[in-house]
């Protein structure tokens, strides 16, 4: 059970207090089991607690019910072995693009030259070569998002959490970055947990798609994607899986008003 890098989320619950309203339960007994090197996608309606769950897994918020274990050990806060790409890009406005990305390597035990090279390569990877010295306010929304992706992957964490990393990108850039993510995932055997609203993307990339339902956030279904890679987005199986997932999401939506 205690495989290194094995992520277990067990019956995790989370409640937020908002002034003037009774406390809101955001997550209710969410359980996940992510094997090392797996690619899991989370899909679900806006506000169902996806980002909250990622915050718990990365270790930013320790106040929750249930257990979150990695390799059998409860997490003790953030660690370099876990990376995250936040939903907002969260670039530091006072650092240039390259310094922002280099920040993720600050504590990596690499040679300085290797760090510089890694930063350069990842800037190129996300298509921002030439903007090394630009400050975040000089980047477009999509460019900032790509920079955040570069920062997330440059340090090669064992587990990478991605919170809608490709949301602000045009279709072409998006496909290209999906391919890059997949390449890196395969090459480095990074465990990836991706929050996305694009079901195609989820199916194309993942071993498993977890459908969350809202109010309070809980796991509606987990769907294994057994398709061989590279996947054909137009294949019958692909489309069938997409229908199943959309149905799972829709059912939930259909139930909600009644509940």
């Amino acid at each position: 059970m205690a495989t290194p890098g094995h992520l277990e989320v067990r019956n995790v619950s989370k409640t937020y207090a908002v002034a003037g309203r009774p406390p809101v339960r955001v997550l209710s007994r969410v359980s996940l089991d992510v094997q090392p090197g797996a690619f899991v996608s989370l899909v679900g309606p806006s506000g169902c607690g996806k980002s909250t769950l990622l915050r718990l897994i990365i270790g930013l918020d320790r106040e929750h019910g249930g257990d979150i274990l990695i390799g059998g050990q409860p997490i003790e806060g953030p660690a370099l072995s876990r990376g995250i790409v936040f939903q907002d890009h969260r670039l530091l406005p006072w650092l240039t693009l390259e310094d922002n990305i280099a920040l993720a390597l600050e504590n990596a035990r690499w040679a300085a030259a290797d760090k510089a090279a890694a930063v350069r390569d990842h800037i190129a990877l996300v298509g921002l070569a030439g903007f090394e010295k630009a400050y975040p306010h000089q980047l477009s929304g999509g460019m900032a998002q790509r920079a955040a992706i570069a920062r997330g992957i440059v340090g090669r964490p064992e587990i990478l959490l991605l919170d809608e990393p490709l949301g602000a990108l045009d279709a072409l850039t998006r496909v290209r970055l999906q391919a890059e993510l997949q390449r890196i995932w395969r090459l480095e055997r990074i465990t990836m947990i991706l929050v996305t609203h694009d079901v195609d993307e989820a199916i194309y990339l993942s071993d498993q798609v977890v459908v969350l339902a809202g109010s309070p956030g809980r796991v509606a279904t987990e769907i294994e994607i057994g398709l061989p890679r590279p996947r054909d987005r137009a294949s019958v199986e692909f489309v069938a899986l997409k229908q199943r997932i959309l149905a799972a999401m829709g059912e939930d939506a259909a139930q909600r008003p009644a509940a």
């Binding site: 409640t15 207090a17 359980s31 089991d33 019910g65």
Partner: protein
């Protein structure tokens, strides 16, 4: 795998550290014990220094002597009147000085023209020692309450003005753009965007300036009068009435502390929305 834990979940939600019963942000006690350590050490050292005569009592009387002196001043020497006299001066000066500073600070913050108009003059004047102005102030305002108020208000003005201005300059451009898109008027911009964003910066300067106002009461009351804590301090200082001196110091310190904490609490209320760094 995830089933094993299911049985304990119910209790987990109530009993354990991470349970949802806990609000997301723990309300911190505003005056925690740790803050008492240093004052306690200081008072202990003071007592020891007095008992062992490390420091001549003429310069540092024992704590008990100070308490006795306090009692005597209170009951026999109208300390309360002195206190009120000072509070009146300090309060007025703080009010006028900080209102003027916040007002002008906002004006200068909103319009670089205004800033450029006043900037060089203010930045020159504020460096000039207050004591050098005294004769001119006496010439124009005499030696009554207005002069005293001016002496203090001038010193209150500058930190608040500078912090208000800087607070506004720090408001994110994004928000100003939003205001402009919503065609907010100047006044709406101030009320809805600029002031809330600048509040932390303004508040810290108000807290600081309140202290400054007290510190200057000695200078101001040196201008004239036979009452006020400033007068008592000056007299005590000159005649080595150190017990009375320490009484005044402690009173001002504690009052200042109380003012400070109430402003801090106010600030916390005003800044409920703030997701700053809690340390």
């Amino acid at each position: 795998m995830s089933n094993t834990a299911e049985a304990i979940d119910g209790s987990a939600l109530v009993g354990r550290a991470g349970g949802p019963a806990r609000p997301a942000r723990r309300p911190r006690p505003t005056q925690p014990l740790i803050g008492i350590i240093l004052p306690a050490i200081i008072i202990a050292l003071w007592q020891v220094a007095a008992s062992l005569a490390w420091i001549d009592r003429v310069f540092l009387p024992a704590p008990l002597t100070v308490v006795t002196a306090f009692w005597k001043m209170l009951t026999k020497q109208n300390l309360a009147l002195d206190f009120l006299a000072s509070v009146k001066i300090v309060g007025q000066a703080f009010l006028y000085g900080s209102i003027a500073a916040v007002g002008l600070g906002i004006a200068a913050g909103l319009s670089r023209k205004v800033e450029q108009f006043f900037g060089p003059t203010f930045d020159t004047i504020r460096h000039i020692p207050g004591i050098a102005w005294l004769p001119l102030i006496v010439l124009w305002l005499g030696i009554g309450a207005p002069a005293k108020v001016l002496v203090i208000a001038k010193s209150v003005f500058f930190p608040v003005f500078l912090n208000t201005l800087q607070g506004i300059r720090n408001v994110e451009k994004n928000y100003i753009e939003l205001a402009s898109v919503l065609t907010l008027t100047r006044w709406q911009l101030v009320r809805k965007v600029v002031l809330p964003a600048a509040v932390p910066s303004i508040m810290v300067s108000l807290r600081y300036a309140a202290g400054l106002a007290w510190a200057l009461v000695v200078v101001a009351e040196g201008l004239s009068g036979l009452e006020g804590l400033g007068f008592l301090i000056f007299r005590a200082q000159g005649l080595l009435l150190t017990d009375q001196l320490v009484v005044c110091m402690v009173i001002i310190g504690l009052v200042g502390f109380a003012i400070d904490r109430s402003m801090y609490l106010l600030q916390r209320r005003v800044l409920r929305w703030k997701q700053g760094y809690d340390g």
